[in-house]
Symmetry: C2
Subunit: 243 residues, 2 copies
């Protein structure tokens, strides 16, 4: 019976995929996804069938994946980063509902908290929150409340979708909210194009963060009270040295 | 010049490692780590030198990795899950300080939020907090404050280290804290031995969660207000169906 794999491909380079994701993509007939992600994997699996839909057509894309699998094909729906963390796995389950066909296998991948964290240093050695600044599907008030709660309880933070074409100011607004709780010299970092052409990163203070140019290919890290710069890297000590 | 790789090996099976982690472990001379993780990778790279230290000797283990690399060996320090998320990368940076030798390359891996999330369903489609219930290096009051803040701002949660030999009651205490804010029927899940022998998972309500037997090889998921059971899986919808 055909199978639908929901595959987290990680940040976008072949080496940062898991062996399991690679095997699933090798074994499938059809690869479906947002065109940017399909274009990333195409050179590695050139003999597959490729199907894409435009950016905001997530429901259409997931339904297409279910339909193709029901036709008897082995289908891989590719997601950037992880398949679960802001990924398509939930929508695939929703659309299948209580049916048991097609069989679904969710294959995890490196989310930007991990791939970007390793790039900027070691910022997530302690508890942290992952918060998307996109208000396309979440009211901004809820995002504000989450930023405030995370800051007040000294959680490090990873901010996904810090800006998009339609909304360039989300990061600046988030910094205003965080600045009401956190000191201006709190260490932060920006990772850009992780694992892809043009990969870069920088550290700065919370005060300097609104001046950084960010786009939808950036991930932002906010340190906790212990986070420090060591050899230029953003490092949150766990406290092991006293252990 | 010799290099020190800090490698996240993921949940513990070969397939869930990244291609990059596999290549680093293939290319190194010496693999260092906590003996449980070294035993996991030993069968895949049998011709390496292996060095281990007991559980709480993190500083000794990381210093050993730095020292071996300074002798001219290519060394891989293996971490369960990710190398940054509660991993050893920060301590390696701390111990090296402002020195530029040995060269360090941090290689990310699947953290339990991702590998466990894919196992129980798709619980992290929305913003979430990752919180360790171990109070070995964090005061319990701080953990409580983070649980409360996450619950009040409707973050899903992933709880690492829900119990250990010394402290079997941490999850029960956490459930008490969460129960002051969240309804008793909030959907939760427990993932056990992800990617290893004895892998299993279950969903239950927050009210039922304290009755579950958990150990240090379990990861616990707490849903947000939208999380639901679909086909037996724990699913947090992102809201795409309205898009």
């Amino acid at each position: 019976m055909a199978k639908l794999y929901v595959v987290g491909i990680g940040p976008g380079n072949y080496e940062n995929m898991t062996i399991r994701a690679d095997r699933a993509l090798q074994s499938c007939d059809t690869i479906i996804g947002y065109h940017v992600y399909v274009d990333l994997v195409k050179p590695w699996y050139p003999d597959k069938e490729f199907l894409t839909t435009p950016m905001t057509r997530e429901t259409q894309r997931c339904q297409m994946a279910l339909d193709e699998a029901m036709k008897g094909k082995n289908v891989a729906m590719v997601c950037s980063g992880d398949s679960v963390v802001y990924g398509m796995a939930a929508l695939i389950y929703e659309l299948r509902g209580e049916n048991i066909q097609p069989e679904i296998e969710v294959i995890p991948g490196l989310t930007a908290a991990c791939s970007g964290g390793a790039l900027v240093g070691a910022p997530l050695t302690h508890d942290f929150a992952v918060i998307s600044l996109s208000d396309r599907l979440t009211p901004w008030e809820k995002i504000e409340a989450r930023l405030t709660a995370a800051a007040q309880s000294d959680l490090s933070m990873v901010l996904y979708n810090p800006a998009s074409h339609g909304r360039p100011d989300h990061l600046r607004h988030a910094c205003e909210i965080l600045g009401r709780v956190l000191p201006g010299d709190r260490l932060c970092a920006v990772a850009r194009n992780i694992g892809r052409e043009g990969e870069s990163w920088l550290t700065c203070t919370l005060e300097q963060l609104p001046e950084q140019e960010v786009d939808m290919f950036c991930t932002v890290f906010i340190g906790n009270a212990m986070t420090q710069s060591i050899g230029g890297k953003m490092v949150t000590p766990r406290g092991y040295r006293h252990g």
